[in-house]
Symmetry: C2
């Protein structure tokens, strides 16, 4: 299995044709091939989709003003976090963990000022699965190749220190690989193994993306086996199944 980082030659601005830029950048690795998984950071998708907000246009609510002290964040950023959230899961220690409008549980609803132009914050793509599907279809149109697309985001985790990249959108790949029913070395039938392959792919890509400079927001993974499927939404554990909600 190989993982290649792809550099973009220019800063991504709203309306930027990301599929075309990916296809061009992939020429350095001999072009995209059938079965490749293209991993794109959510930040670059957000920027291409114009999901940037000028903080000077945001009017914080009284609640956002109070929270901004607790969280040690600018009130405009807190207002955006609340705008992107459907509920608050945990709050404390300078952190706010929310269920965001997409159903994803993350810190700060994914609102991020890093790698956004000064005075701006980037919001997550409105519908990352739909963004992945559009990218995949456009890549297919440009190249005739059948690739999978994963949109990755950096997230903290309960119980473990440090952040890892996970999949918040995907197309052309089933994000879960069900191993239940497979047999082990001794013939024992596996009962509970269901692997979050799209999250593992996002994490693997981060090893290349995160270690280069920030102008390498794309990775291509070649030689990984996966089933066709759609939608990283499947990776969100329903509240009623979650012992930690």
């Amino acid at each position: 299995m190989e993982i290649y980082g792809l550099k973009l030659k220019e800063d991504v601005k709203p309306g930027f044709n990301l599929a075309k830029a990916i296809v061009q950048a992939a020429e350095d690795i001999g072009g995209l091939k059938d079965g490749d998984v293209v991993v794109v950071t959510s930040k670059v998708v957000s920027k291409a989709e114009g999901r940037l907000v000028d903080l000077s246009t945001v009017k914080p609510s009284p609640f956002a003003l109070r929270l901004s002290k607790l969280l040690d964040k600018p009130p405009e950023v807190v207002e955006l976090i609340l705008n992107e959230s459907s509920s608050i899961v945990r709050m404390g220690r300078g952190t706010i963990v929310v269920e965001d409008l997409r159903g994803i549980i993350n810190a700060n609803a994914g609102v991020d000022v890093s790698n956004a132009p000064p005075g701006h914050a980037a919001l997550l793509p409105l519908d990352p699965d739909a963004s992945a599907k559009r990218l995949r279809e456009e890549i297919s149109r440009l190249t005739g190749r059948n690739v999978a697309v994963v949109i990755s985001d950096t997230q903290g985790r309960p119980l473990r220190r440090g952040q890892v990249d996970v999949a918040i959108g995907c197309s052309g790949i089933n994000p879960l690989r069900d191993r239940r029913g497979e047999r082990d070395l001794y013939g024992y039938v596996l009962k509970i193994k269901e692997i979050a392959i799209a999250d593992e792919i996002a994490s693997a890509a981060e090893l290349v993306i995160g270690q280069a400079d920030e102008a390498t927001p794309i990775a291509v993974i070649r030689g990984v086996r996966f089933e066709e499927g759609e939608g990283a939404k499947q990776l969100i554990r329903p509240r009623e199944e979650d012992l930690f909600r």
Copy 2:
């Protein structure tokens, strides 16, 4: 970056020389090189270290007998789980999440009957960081190469569906990569980014290990940048810092 799966030619039994077997298997990829990361599943380390228990020798306590009904597991397995645990973090829905003797929070304290001989359960290595260190030193002695070793285990996660492989032991690699202080594309100084690189490496390796048959318990990752360091214990979030404990 490349990831290679390594097959073992024989079933791993107590006393098996894992370092030697890894070095021999790596001949297929031209031998180990300086800077390679060798990822080994905890199961194969456990087996080599003789961490297998014959279930017929286990006498379940009254509490284990009662829990066995709630968890739908054999009472002997429940007894082993309790023996390996220092506290119970969550219980319900056929699942028991514990803080194990190593401080790791995991389901079933890592006690697992899959890929163990019939009638046996495998326990996690007693001290996975020490196991990683021994493997690394033995590989260095055999080859003269400076590699890092990561011991991986498959874990479920709060909030997200599906399991991923994480690092429960490591040597020769700092499991956390601190990006705080680095600057982004626009010169903004990153405030909170600390990447759990060893967990990402374990997840990346699973893409190769888990997709082959179970006789491929080792992966070599070549071309990933990391800092030297020791100890996957650093990846355990202290209870007082955890909003989800």
